[in-house]
């Protein structure tokens, strides 16, 4: 579902991504772990073209992201084409980025109404159902500022899910949450995974990775150091850098 081939991203002299290749199959849950600055966020942001790669190819469901295929030269997609592709790629951000001038329900259905041009009534039905599913049936009318961090993130997840994307990208979804709120968000993510969603998750929550991920990818300084099933990677890391990182993280 997601194919990343030899991806490079430079910010000036900083090499955020230094030749990353990864494949995420349909229904796979892949967790990206690694220290700050290792390139996890940058990688996710290249998948939906919030960052434009310096070199390399990203494909989602066979289609190249951000560029038109053909005749050798790289040509940008139009704004509309890119928007249409992005509608099939859901993203959840570390800082939620809910829209403060809309209530929870409106946040969730904004995409349906504006992008998919769905009638508001139909969108509202879907939005309500999804918010109930993430446990926020009683918070439909709440403005984001009246919600806890965990609630906001669940609204953000519902907002991404309601668009029925092919893949979901999670950029450290629980890193900004108080510890007691992390669990409710991870529970929602587990449920999404169990329903067969293809997920690429940058996270520090090793318990989640162990429980839900099919594969864990350890990144450091813009490169993939090691990939493997969680039990194997956590118990028997092959590389020294992986071991040193895990020693600091795993209790």
């Amino acid at each position: 579902m997601i194919e990343i081939e030899d991806l490079h991203k430079h910010f000036g002299r900083v090499r955020a991504l230094d030749g990353v290749s990864l494949t995420v199959g349909k229904g796979d849950v892949v967790c990206l772990i690694g220290p700050s600055g290792s390139g996890k966020s940058t990688l996710l942001r290249c998948v939906n073209f919030l960052e434009e790669p310096t070199a390399g190819v990203v494909r989602v469901d066979g289609r190249r992201v951000g560029y038109r295929e053909g005749d050798g030269r790289r040509r940008h997609m139009s704004g509309r084409e890119l928007a249409r592709m992005r509608a099939e790629i859901g993203m959840v951000f570390q800082l939620f980025y809910l829209w403060p001038h809309r209530i929870a329900l409106e946040n969730v259905i904004e995409g349906l109404v504006t992008v998919k041009r769905m009638p508001v009534a139909e969108a509202a039905e879907r939005g309500r159902a999804l918010l109930a599913k993430v446990g926020l049936a009683d918070k439909l009318e709440a403005y984001p500022e009246h919600l806890s961090g965990g609630q906001r993130q669940r609204v953000a997840i519902a907002r991404a899910l309601v668009m029925e994307p092919k893949v979901m990208l999670f950029d450290e979804p629980t890193s900004a949450l108080d510890p007691e709120l992390v669990g409710e968000v991870l529970a929602v993510m587990e449920r999404v995974a169990s329903e067969g969603m293809t997920m690429l998750v940058a996270t520090h929550e090793m318990g989640f990775a162990k429980k839900v991920a099919h594969r864990v990818v350890f990144m450091d300084q813009g490169k993939i150091v090691e990939v493997g099933p969680p039990e194997a990677l956590f118990a028997r890391p092959q590389h020294d850098r992986t071991r040193r990182f895990l020693d600091k993280i795993l209790v």
């Binding site: 992005r86 951000f93 829209w99 209530i103 329900l105 992008v115 049936a137 009318e141």
Partner: protein
């Protein structure tokens, strides 16, 4: 010399007529200025240097020099390029140019105050940039822009008095003409002051009203919005 306000009643119609000129002068130049300010703000925010730099220089010069100078400049410079300009059009041009510069910065600040993350979240959901601006950025920017914009509008109203120096028949010039023939400066100026105060107070009320209307959380949802969102309909039965 005792004060005699009967002069005011006698000349009130003339003063009010001049007040209309003040309002017209302010309203037209503020409208033109706002429209131009919008484009100027976009130019200032543009990634293209050939848009950004000229806009920046314009704002810098106009905001850095007195309106009085602009008025004289337009009025006296026009013949130099071969256009004969009446006082009123000259004042409109100068005041519009000034309004545009100040409001451009106000608009730009409002637009940039909307966090980039919200824009990214909107793009991620599949909105085009135009949709993001319309649905996400502008509604929030307006809330930030209103107080500064209205404050500037009030200043603009008072600054219209400067047009008197290039012979526009607005309130200040008319008041001067009246008391130069009646020698009742205190009374006439008090009356003129009162009229300015009425105008600015109306704008202040308008500002309060707009600030209220653009505050989303405190006011709750309108009945129509509730209905559209089916907020009062029973939740369909769902497995937990």
């Amino acid at each position: 010399m005792a004060l005699d306000f009967s002069v005011v009643w006698k000349y009130l119609p003339i003063l009010l007529q001049a007040a209309v000129m003040t309002v017209v002068l302010t309203a037209i130049s503020q409208t033109i200025g706002t429209v131009c300010a919008f484009f100027l703000a976009l130019a200032r925010m543009s990634r293209r240097p050939w848009l950004r730099w000229p806009a920046g220089v314009y704002v810098w010069i106009v905001r850095g020099t007195p309106l009085l100078l602009h008025l004289f400049f337009v009025y006296y410079a026009a013949p130099a390029v071969g256009i004969t300009l009446d006082a009123f059009p000259a004042a409109i041009i100068a005041m519009s140019a000034s309004s545009a510069a100040y409001n451009a910065e106000i608009i730009r600040a409002g637009l940039e105050a909307v966090h980039r993350g919200q824009v990214e979240a909107a793009l991620s959901v599949g909105m085009t940039y135009a949709q993001v601006v319309r649905r996400i950025v502008v509604p929030q920017a307006i809330r930030i822009i209103v107080p500064s914009y209205m404050g500037n509008a009030i200043s603009h109203t008072k600054n219209s008095s400067l047009a008197s120096v290039i012979t526009v028949q607005e309130l200040m010039l008319t008041a001067q003409m009246i008391y130069s023939s009646t020698y009742r400066a205190v009374e006439i100026l008090t009356a003129a002051g009162a009229i300015y105060l009425v105008l600015t107070t109306c704008l202040t009320w308008l500002q309060f009203y707009l600030e209220q209307v653009t505050t989303y959380e405190a006011r709750g949802l309108s009945a129509r919005r509730r209905r559209r969102l089916l907020l009062d309909a029973p939740l369909p039965g769902l497995a937990a």
